[in-house]
């Protein structure tokens, strides 16, 4: 077996396109996740009996089933129910967004619970409405304390975007698979792809550690 590391350079544009799709997928899913996580966390903490149940069921079901099963369910079953004709990329954004949304909701919930009740009482005593108390007083403090958890979830998401390759999204892992069948340079290709993910996640986790240090200094 001959190792030709040069294939990574020869196909750099192809791999880079995959990497860009991976980044795009992660960011789009993260945006959806945040949009879902805040209302879910609020529903679990302050909602009525029904909304509380629904939010709880969503979180528990996502956390108790494999992301791959969720991806397949959403990508294949949503079009059957809705008649929607969507691309694998959008299916993956929705599935991964729903997945990380549940984990982020738990992080938000812990963050909101961690804000001292005196803060709410003080804000209310100063005449803020319950909505502005939440938006302007509780949420900013909660976000600060749970930012590390959210960023860790994001790193997990970045790695888990790789499962989108199974429904045919042309991201980095998919590009690696194609390149493998085209060149038979399995060792070079998969080591290179794994290396790219490793670099991304090491940069991201260095960022998280830095953030934690800055926060520790401020407190």
């Amino acid at each position: 077996m001959e190792l030709r590391p040069s294939v990574l350079w020869e196909y750099r544009v192809f791999l880079l396109q995959g990497l860009v799709t991976t980044a795009w997928l992660a960011l789009a899913a993260q945006a959806l996740a945040l949009a879902l996580a805040v209302p879910t966390a609020v529903a679990r903490l302050r909602g009525g009996a029904v909304t509380r149940r629904i939010a709880g069921a969503y979180v528990e079901f996502v956390r108790g089933t494999p992301a791959l099963t969720q991806l397949f369910w959403i990508f294949y079953c949503i079009p059957i129910f809705t008649g929607l004709d969507w691309t694998p990329l959008w299916g993956a954004v929705v599935a991964l967004g729903l997945n990380v949304g549940a984990y982020d909701a738990e992080a938000f919930r812990a963050g909101i619970q961690g804000v001292h009740f005196g803060q709410v009482q003080a804000a209310r005593a100063l005449g803020l409405s319950s909505w502005s108390t939440f938006w302007a007083v509780v949420l900013p403090q909660a976000t600060r304390s749970m930012l590390p958890a959210l960023l860790n979830n994001f790193i997990g998401l970045l790695l888990y975007t790789s499962i989108a390759s199974t429904i045919g999204v042309h991201e980095l892992t998919y590009a690696g698979g194609k390149l493998n069948t085209a060149t038979f340079q399995s060792v070079v290709v998969f080591t290179g792809v794994a290396g790219l993910y490793l670099v991304l996640s090491l940069i991201a986790s260095a960022g998280v550690r830095r953030l934690e240090r800055i926060q520790a200094r401020r407190d």
């Binding site: 494999p66 129910f81 809705t82 790789s162 998969f190």
Partner: protein, 220 residues
Amino acid sequence: MSGYTIDLTGVWSRRDMLLTGLLVTAELWILALALGLIGGLIVGLGRLSRRRVLAWPSSCVIEVFRGTPPLVQLFWFYYCLPLLFDVRMSALTTAILSLGLFSTAYVGEIVRGGIQAVHKGQTQAARALGLSKLQTLREVVLPQAVRRMWPPLMSQAVDVLKATALASSITVPELMYQTYRATSQTFRFVEFYTVSALIYFAICLPLVSRLRRLEWRSGA
């Protein structure tokens, strides 16, 4: 709903497929977890060691397997191991090894965290009382650390179960693979994926609710 009717007869007539898949999932899960517990104890202790020959490789295993997607790890083991070492392994063995190392990395960090959380005074006291380093670790530090390690280990067990579904992409005939195969025979996507998801959920639920109780008790 656009008039879709649920029909579970296809699922019922293929229950054997799902059951065989479930058994393979269970085998993969338990063996990968066992490998992860043994490996995790080694690399977790290794990373804490003052000797660089132990600490450095342990850190490498932990960082590499936590910093890359488990799916890419599976592909790497499936395609590259036979080329590099001239070994023939079944897809299942490959997946056990790959997911075993994946959980090794996470268990390693749990072990490290658990040991670091034990107060230094405990070690100093044990050493002052004349216990050897190994005795201190085995009789004093580990028992206390293990109590703290329980909740994260259980949540890790759930994560490994969910990761076993990825093995379907290297043709391991586990639950997800069988589900996919059944849908390509019947085109009953909704029924099969829902049932399959419910099976995974039914295995996770007792673990998750037990975990919740543990966390409640420890006040975390």
